[in-house]
Symmetry: C2
Amino acid sequence: MADNNSELRKELIEKAKSGIREAYSSEEYALMQAVNAWLELSKSRNLASERLAEWYGIYAPESAKAGSAGLAKAAMELAENVGSAERTGMGRKMNDDEASALKSFAEYGMKADSVITSLEEYLKVAANRLMPNATYLTDEKIASELLSRAGSLERLATMPASTVQLLGAEKALFKHIKYGSKPPKYGVLFKLVDVTAAPKEQKGKIARVYATKLSIALKADFFSKRFIAEQLKKDLQESLKRIAETPSRPKPQWQQQHFQPRKRFGRQNNPKRGPRRN
Amino acid sequence: MADNNSELRKELIEKAKSGIREAYSSEEYALMQAVNAWLELSKSRNLASERLAEWYGIYAPESAKAGSAGLAKAAMELAENVGSAERTGMGRKMNDDEASALKSFAEYGMKADSVITSLEEYLKVAANRLMPNATYLTDEKIASELLSRAGSLERLATMPASTVQLLGAEKALFKHIKYGSKPPKYGVLFKLVDVTAAPKEQKGKIARVYATKLSIALKADFFSKRFIAEQLKKDLQESLKRIAETPSRPKPQWQQQHFQPRKRFGRQNNPKRGPRRN
């Protein structure tokens, strides 16, 4: 009896374990972690570049180095040559302690750059493996970020196009619902070059077209696993062309007014919102 | 005449240059950059540790590694041994691409740790050189952060104690002035162990005592450059003892009510503030 029980116990534990293994088996979890790491690291790197530029500026206010890589190199060179030649610049003369701190910080910037590169390489490989259609239509970063926002490839693939369009714009969406501010037109898809470069009144339409095609691409990625993105991209580009050719006209009167939310959502006017600007 | 002009021009440029050189001549500018770099980097490192823990958890959900250094090491080991032995854990089996991305990210964490350490070393040296009294009373991080908030040692040394007490609490202070929320008791000084560890009703008093002594210490650091911090610390500790011994009693009625701001500052009630909680 005791033997039987412990036998059963072992089996159940094994089953639980394999359940957990199953749950994490797909590579999408790694991809989501990687894209989040990439997003966070890119932010940190930008912050560090700004700081490095400011710090470097104390010693060489006359030179305006651009780009984080060039800057990091210049800072390291400066730190390595403390007190060697007479300096002709206008900046402060660095002492040894400062030099080693600045050098270390510049090294950090370079390390961050190289880690970002290797995360980008992984994103490229994994996104193309897991969601080849969606990646072909957009790029590996946007596709992976959409995946991470959705939480799993299954959820992303079964979302309606309008939800895909607004992934990443949750805050603006709920502000719209609650306070009646303008509805968002795009979330993560704002990062598409086609959207960024478009004239203001076309951005929303372009995001919509992308979301529609992406939704089809994602279903193919998750269900049929066939590569249909070439045809999709052709269709997409035709739609974009049509949007670009449509002349823009002033909005009808009713569209210029505020959307009025239902009363039960609470306050009608958002006190945080100043006067409409555009 | 032309010669005279160019002579004059040269001289004036030289003068401007030396003016700039003068303006940046003090080490306090380097210290401010270093402490800001340290603060930003510490935040990034914490974010990266959390991300690493989550990422590592996919492969080894059964192990809960604590501490960023231990975690980074574990992740690197895991990444290096991809596909070597049979894994008994419950997590996902990593492929080579994941392994190299994870390894690179773990290396980033370790690099960030080491850069933070070297920035801390610099803070220690420079803060003790520039503001020995203030550093003796608090520590190099708090003293440097106060310096960076004030903008220069001269400004910091000439501030009244009450301003030093609230450095870093600007947001809460202006919210208090504008909306009548509770006034802040401390800014950067919140990081003092004596403040953190104190019972709630003593924190403000302790910050006040620290600010008073710090203000004296900073004047000595900037003007007389004498080391008077030992006596100051003795006085400080006596004051702290007195505060700890004073029994706490309930606040009088009038103190429990809201502070009413002057009308011309605008709204009397802050709509962002929910009901009072403490």
